[in-house]
């Protein structure tokens, strides 16, 4: 995404200069909101906007119809400028029933547009949503512009010719609504029509009904007399680099990055995992990708998963495992075995709300500590964090590179937000990716399992099945010289030092820390890691437009840290560290560089809003005695 530094005012839809918009589709689990959102994303991408999306599933598998806890939503932020979050507040809310309205209306900006299916505002549904009076009538929606249409009725009329029953007919409500929204933003509905025809190829009547509903919704926008101020909006196209694009979620990007990493390393991968929210998607995606050099193993639990992965690595295939929260905790002993035996291993941690079972479907960054310090004994290992959905692809490749090059476990931190959020991805040319083929040792002469590369300090990787390299590994301390068990005190010190030096040494094999936005010195650096990227980025951008001397630094390499980070931070008067935890990364920065960094902590299961970070920037500025 290109960074367009133009003045961004506060805006509503009735302003002339609308450069970006947040739309949120919300309905019952059965209302097809995810499909609607995806289809709208498709036409919006094609239109040429930059965008970012986030699906908001209910925690329940399938809640009763009309229940508030069964509301499923999809949010898209799109516009002419670089878009890096799905948006703080919603400009247009589509609410298919009272439950969707009540659970989402608080995120709508004052003056925002809410489109409701008044046909669904029955007494029963109002009751389920715990409304005491009908919000369409009691004036509670006065701060907003309301477009209430009996969509149910409209749809049934539109699909009548196709002989669908009442129930199947109502299933087309989402397409009718999509048609209306497509009209509202002047998008092309052809791609949607094509996908519908493809999707229901075997049921042409259903396809036709859906298309008819889509068209009817669109026509409604064109012809019906809409309330004052509601009209067709033209959001300018974004200036995005030329190329072929696709939409990518973080989970898919990560999965594909692992596959790419395996290809670049020229090795097979075994992905061993046990289902857990929100990490399972990775397993699902990869189980579907066995045409590549990857196999998947659904283990009996997380311990078996990490152990199978370590076993695979011992056998010469890169073991990868993946989990979240409680599952990560269970893998600790297995990870330590990989660290002690110096075998490669990639652990993907899709963080969720904690502690304990916590909030499985919500996002958080509270596993920084366990990633860095969650092993018994001194067992350092690299920890990387992905910043955006697309970044997951690159970071996954990097995790494979470090694991195989340094014969070490590597933890990759993603989170529930990143995994499910999506954004357009400029598809790279695979041939331009830098490869890093693994060299298995095969020379029997002079072989011992303790041989290591002088430069990287990596232990040799000797594959079972190779004649003459028979050897034993194990988790008991091993002799630096021979690789045999050693209880010798000096050897233990030497091996401990070695393990530390090996990981520390990686800092010279990673890029120097860059500043994402702003100068390399100044008043304030906002330092983030992981999925806070988008919100920090927008906040810093806005602050800079206000004339503040703020820079944005996003750290990918959490351990070891980039070698220049300390100096970089020293160049700022103040350092602000927003984190979705109680302040874990900031402790590392303080310990490492002895700087008076300020934390900004949010632990609500929700990503930061741009405004929250902007407010913190203002506050820091005030504390510095400056007027923001």
């Amino acid at each position: 995404m290109e960074l367009v530094e133009e003045k961004l005012g506060e805006h509503h839809l009735d302003e002339k200069h609308v450069v970006d918009v947040v739309v949120r589709f919300a309905g019952d689990s059965g209302d097809g909101m995810q499909l609607t959102g995806s289809a709208f994303t498709q036409v919006t991408a094609l239109y040429g906007n930059d965008l970012s999306t986030f699906p908001d599933f209910p925690a329940e598998i399938r809640a009763p119809v009309g229940a508030t806890f069964g509301v499923s939503a999809f949010q898209i932020y799109f516009g002419a400028e670089d878009v890096t979050t799905p948006g703080d507040e919603v400009d247009v809310l589509v609410a298919m029933n009272p439950a969707a309205l009540v659970t989402n209306i608080t995120s709508l900006v004052d003056g925002g547009l809410v489109i409701v299916d008044s046909g669904a505002f029955t007494a029963k549904n109002l009751h389920k949503a715990k409304y005491e009076s009908n919000p369409l009538e009691d004036g509670s929606l006065d701060p907003f512009r309301v477009l209430d249409i009996d969509i149910s009725k409209q749809v049934l009329a539109a699909v009548e010719p196709f002989g669908l029953g009442h129930k199947d007919g109502l299933r087309c409500k989402n397409m009718w609504t999509l048609g209306l929204v497509i009209w509202l933003f002047d998008r092309d509905r052809k791609p949607t029509i094509e996908s519908l025809e493809q999707k229901f190829a075997s049921k042409p009547e259903i396809a036709k009904a859906n298309v008819a509903a889509l068209n009817a919704g669109h026509a409604y926008g064109e012809t019906a007399e809409l309330p004052v101020g509601i009209h067709l909006y033209k959001i300018p196209k974004a200036h995005v680099p030329a190329g072929t694009y696709r939409n990518m979620t973080g989970a898919t990007a990560l999965a594909w990055g692992l596959i790419a990493g395996g290809e670049l390393a020229d090795i097979d991968l075994l992905f061993a995992s046990y289902p857990i929210t929100p990490a399972s998607n990775l397993l699902h995606e990869l189980a579907n990708r066995k045409e590549f050099r990857i196999n998947t193993f659904q283990a009996e639990d997380e311990i078996a998963a990490v152990c199978a992965a370590v076993g695979a690595s011992f056998a010469g295939t890169l073991g990868v495992t993946s989990s979240a929260g409680p599952g990560i905790a269970l893998k600790s002993e297995g990870i330590a075995l990989a660290a002690a035996t110096e075998l490669p291993l990639v652990i993907v941690n899709t963080q969720r709300g904690g502690p304990s079972t916590g909030l499985p479907t919500k996002t958080e960054q509270s596993d920084f500590n366990i990633a860095l310090y969650g092993r018994h004994g001194d067992a350092p290992m690299p920890v990387l964090a992905a910043a955006t959905p697309c970044d997951c692809f690159e970071v996954a490749i990097e995790a494979v590179r470090l694991a195989t090059k340094y014969m070490t476990p590597v933890m990759l931190l993603s989170d529930g937000y990143l995994a499910n959020a999506s954004e357009p991805w400029k598809i790279p040319d695979v041939s331009t990716l830098q490869d890093f083929p693994v060299n298995f040792h095969d020379e029997a002469e002079g072989f011992k399992p303790s041989l290591r590369n002088d430069e990287t300090l990596a232990r040799v990787w000797a594959k079972p099945g190779t004649p003459g390299l028979e050897h034993r590994l194990g988790g008991i301390e091993r002799s630096y010289d021979s690789g045999d068990i050693s209880y010798d005190p000096e050897n233990h010190q030497r091996m401990t030092d070695l393990r530390q030096a090996k990981i520390a040494g990686i800092s010279s094999d990673i890029p120097l820390q860059e500043v994402v936005l702003g100068e390399t010195t100044g008043k304030l650096a906002v330092v983030g890691w992981g999925s806070t990227f988008g919100a920090i980025h927008q906040a810093v951008k806005r602050a800079r437009l206000e004339g503040l001397e703020v820079s944005h630094i996003q750290v990918r390499y959490l351990s070891p840290l980039p070698p220049n980070l300390g100096n970089l931070l020293a160049g700022f008067d103040t350092v602000l560290v927003p984190e979705m935890n109680t302040g874990q990364f900031i402790n590392l920065l303080r310990a490492e560089y002895l700087i008076e960094a300020e934390g900004l902590s949010k632990v609500s299961g929700q990503p930061f809003k741009i405004g929250e970070i902007l407010a913190a920037i203002h506050k820091e500025y005030e504390l510095m005695g400056e007027n923001p």
Binding site: A242, D268, A308
Partner: protein
């Protein structure tokens, strides 16, 4: 064959590591038997992999000059599954103890058996935690006095072979540490079995559980206290081969009978290694009323997890696409 392949001997399978078991430990005998057996197996030395957890028994891999991995407590079956999935060519052995395999490692043991992963699991059952200095284990008899059960243990023990059968094991056998020939025979069969083969080896720990298997190990007593089961053969035992096992088919119970003119061998139960019900009965026979069954108790051909997983992957790979094709698949758009 015109090319000379130097034949390997026991010595080729010994390592230069000082063996750290107590003098008289049953593990020595098992090691020797295994080292001796190795040269005769189908797989080459470089394809043999020994994986273990933690325990006295789990030190085994250090003494086998093959590939080896002394891992963490209880998890060897999971590592072995990963190894085998990574490279099905490897011949993978899991060496475990009653604590390692059935206390902390019970879950992985159960699942490696149920999945029928093609590995050989050798359980050194000494009914005690040796390495941690003698606490009672899940196979210890009720009343076992140990540092953690000074008044005698109250937990009911489990029977490894019975549990293995319950988990769906497709190969279950039992042998004895010092019975080199018998053990060697059983392990060879385990090696040949495609799928998970489970072998319980009664192992004496002279330090913490000395003599618990005396009845079946002692040359004088053993004939009366153990029965060697063999497919298709009647279940005869006793010093004078004068006793046998019969099935009371009404009560669905086994009974010990004395052979006599009226009770001939023909009236005895004949071992059928493919019958799981029989296997369950045989595997739980125990003294003093019954002899302990040793030998191949149960064997069954079933789908092997690794084979099928590989097949499935291979099938998918037939229609393989390139990474670039993957990245470009599905809905894309072009920005100019």
């Amino acid at each position: 064959m015109s090319e000379m392949i130097p034949t390997l001997t026991l010595k080729d399978f010994a390592t230069d590591q000082e063996i750290r078991w107590c003098p008289g430990c049953g593990d020595y005998a098992i090691l020797k038997t295994m080292q001796k057996l190795m040269p005769g197996l189908e797989q080459t030395k470089e394809n043999q992999v020994f994986v273990s957890g933690i325990g006295c028994s789990s030190r085994f891999p250090y003494y086998m000059n093959t590939y080896g991995f002394h891992t963490i407590h209880g998890r060897a079956p999971a590592l072995a599954t990963g190894i085998k999935l990574a490279n099905p060519e490897l011949n993978v052995w899991v060496i475990t103890g009653d604590g390692d395999g059935f206390s902390i490692g019970g879950n992985h043991m159960m699942h490696v058996l149920r999945r029928n992963v093609d590995v050989q699991l050798l359980l050194f059952n000494n009914e005690i935690y040796g390495l941690t200095k003698g606490q009672y284990s899940p196979t210890s008899a009720v009343g076992t006095r140990s540092p953690s059960s000074p008044q005698g243990s109250v937990d009911l023990p489990l029977a490894p072979c019975e549990l293995a059968l319950g988990a769906g094991a497709t190969f279950v056998a039992r042998s004895i540490d010092t019975e080199a020939k018998h053990l060697s025979g059983v392990v060879k069969l385990a090696d040949e079995h495609r799928g998970a083969s489970f072998v319980e080896i009664l192992q004496n720990c002279p330090i913490y559980s000395d003599g618990i298997f005396e009845n079946v190990k002692n040359k004088k007593l053993a004939a009366d206290f153990k029965v060697e089961v063999e497919h298709g053969k009647p279940l005869v035992f006793g010093k004078e081969r004068n006793k046998g096992i019969q099935l009371d088919s009404q009560a669905l119970k086994l009974k010990v009978v004395e052979l006599s003119e009226t009770v001939s061998e023909a009236k005895l139960l004949v071992h059928d290694e493919n019958n799981k019900v029989l296997a369950q009965m045989l595997s739980t026979m125990s003294g003093p009323d019954f002899p302990v069954a040793v030998g191949l108790i149960y064997r069954q051909d079933k789908a092997s997890y690794v084979d099928d997983s590989q097949k499935q992957a291979a099938e998918v790979r037939k229609n393989g696409i390139s990474l670039q094709e993957l990245l470009n698949s599905g809905y894309t758009w072009i920005v100019e």
